[in-house]
Structure formats: C-alpha cells, structure tokens
Amino acid sequence: MPDLRTFIIALSLITVSAVLGYALITYGLAPVANQDLVKLSRVYLGTVFNKSSVLWGASPEVVTSIIWDYRGLDTVYETTVFFVAVISALTLFRNVKITPSNTGRGVGMTVIVKTVSKIVFIAIPAVAVSITVHGHLTPGGGFQGGSTFSVASLLMISVFSLNLVVARGWSKEKLLSIRTLGLLSVGFVAFSTPLIASLLGLKGYLMQNLEKPWAPVGWPAEVSLASASSILVSGTLIVLNIAEFVAVSAGLSLIFITLSLPTNVLEEGGGVAR
C-alpha cells in the first residue's frame, strides 16, 4: 500500500516531466520577456558584436570576449586566485612523496569497467580540447575544458588505481611545472601588447586583444592558412583559452592525485601527529 509520501514524490516527478515536456514541445512555457531589446543588450550588440564598431570583440561568443577582453584583468586575477588555492592546498601536504611505492596496490576495478573506460578515455580529452579551442565560438573556454580534462584523470585514478597513474609519470613536479607554464603563458599574452607597443613608441594596453585606431598593436582576429578561407581565432582569446586549459587541467589533476593518496601517506607527509 503506497503511503502519502511516495504518492507525493511520484506526483511531483510526473508534474516535472510533464512541464518539461510541454516546454520542449511549445518552445518555452510562456513569452520570456519583451521582444524589444533592453538598453544593456543594445549596447553590447552595438559594440562587441558589431564588426564595424571600434570596440569589436572579434568573437561570436560574447561571454568569452567580455571575460577575456573587456574585463580581462579580472579573469587574470581569478586565474591567479585559483593558482594560489592549488599552491596552498599542496602546502598542507608539502612533504608528501608521491611515488609508485607508496600509492597502494595497483589493482583497479574489474576488466569490464577497464575496457569501457579505455574507450571513454579517448573521448574525454577530445571533448575537453574541443571545448577549449571552440571557446571563442561556442559556450565553453579554458576553465571548462580543463575541468572536463580533470574528470579523465579522476576516472583514471578510480578505475586503473592511483599506482598506475603515478607509475605512468604523472609526478607532482611535472604537473606543477605544466600548471606554472599555463599561468606564465597567460602573463606573456597579457604583457605582449604593451611591451611591443612601447618598443615601437606607440600606445598599448595591458590585455589588449585587437588593434584599435589609437593603439595600433594587437593580435590578429583572423588567421589565413594555405586554403582560401581564413579562420576566426579572435586575437588573444584562443591563446588565453588554451593557456587556461593547460593550467586548470594540470592543477586539478594534481589536486585529485594528492587527495586520493592513502591516509597514512598523507599523515606522514603532512607532519600530522597521530
């Protein structure tokens, strides 16, 4: 005999699916807003989206061009905060040695899970890189791609055991170096335009993306290869996305590897009194 609680749960589930299905069929539950553009979106569409505008962002993904171009310094500070967070998390376990000998038995899960995971391991980094290099065209970007890539390392730890991951050469020093390389690339891109502009005696801004009439040093919006059509790379956006991807994927993978160490290794290395 179903009690009242079960009945209410089932009814709410059915209601949610019915509402979602109705929204899917009729393209929305109701008219969302006034069809006229509000003033803020009018400003954005006139500047960021508009190729004839001086403030053109060179990217159909307005969010990416806002966060890396218009408020790029803010994003650099966010990346720095993430870097410091990784460093401070590793400081707690500063004396931990991550070697194949102290990472437990390398047994992993059964052969069924391993076989399926081998197929998935091809897909996850491919999707992560695709999210990253399409970050200036579609929603996504470096942080999202890096987080997606770190899912692969997390899955690898849980399926193939931490011992195998460490034995394959994912050491602390290597991942930290890759992480630092990504952050240095972000800094290099940020400082490249004012540096070159000051060498040429022109005006240049920190984190400048495209060239402006009053500051004529910038990264190219389009790159033409051997084929006739040119590729939209949106200036610094794709470079910054790739640098952020490298930094975030290495940093999050290192955090996951450190946190999945056996407890006794963490206690010995962290100097925690038992």
Binding site: P2, T6, I9, A10, L13, I14, S17, G21, M109, T110, I112, V113, T115, V116, S117, I119, V120, A123
Partner: protein, 129 residues
C-alpha cells in the same frame, strides 16, 4: 501509388517523436521503481531501465528526428551529438551498474531472502578476490 515525400516525412517524424515520448514514460517508471523496489539490486534494475529506456532510445530517435527536420548545418551537428551521446550511454551504463553492484557486494550488502551466493563462497574459498 505515389507517396508524397512531405507526408512521408511528417509521418516519420511524428512516429519518432512518439517513440521519444515512450522514453519519457520509461523514465517515470524507472523513478517509481527506484522508490518502490525492495532492495538494492532490484533498484539497480530500475536504474538501468531509466538509463537505457529513458536516455538511449530517445536520444537515437531525437537524433534521427533532428537529422530529418532541422535546417542543413545544424541537423548533422545536433543529430551527430545525439547519436554519439547515445553510443557512450550504451557502453557506460552497463559498466557503471556493474561497478555499483560490485561495490555493493564487496561491502557485504546481501538482500534478505538470498539463498545462494556463489560469489561470496568463491571469495571466501580464495578462488577469486
């Protein structure tokens, strides 16, 4: 008899959408099973009904639907992503439920009316770990 291609397309897409609707019904059934079934392994059955019946078949049908119905550049994009996702759901769902069931058995969760447990016997006698 000549069949109008427009009518054929409409009938085909309506059938595909109705099939996708069956997937939604299977999802509701799986949710009810997750609440109502007695023990862990029976609920695992409801879980896989929800994954395969509620995600895999509707994704294939919606992928075909979008390949037929949507305008040119986006039909292969949406349809291809739907079919790729369906493939990955198909291969990961059994592995996931297998891993969950293995974890439950290793943590010595046995349903009440269990009479025979050969896996436990094999494990205790050391045939497999």
């Amino acid at each position: 008899m000549v069949i109008d291609p427009y009518v054929l397309t409409e009938v085909l897409t309506t059938l595909l959408l109705m099939g996708a609707l069956i997937g939604g019904i299977l999802d509701v059934i799986a949710a009810l099973g997750m609440i109502r079934f007695k023990d862990f392994y029976l609920r695992l059955h409801a879980l896989t009904v929800g994954v395969i019946g509620g995600s895999f078949y509707p994704l294939i049908l919606l992928g075909l639907y979008s390949m037929i119905k949507l305008p040119y550049p986006s039909n292969y994009y949406v349809g291809g992503i739907a079919l790729t996702t369906a493939f990955f759901i198909l291969i990961t769902a059994p592995a996931g439920s297998h891993a969950i069931a293995r974890a439950a058995h290793r943590s010595k969760h046995v349903p009440k009316p269990a009479v025979v447990d050969r896996l436990r016997e094999d494990r205790e006698s050391g045939v497999m770990n």
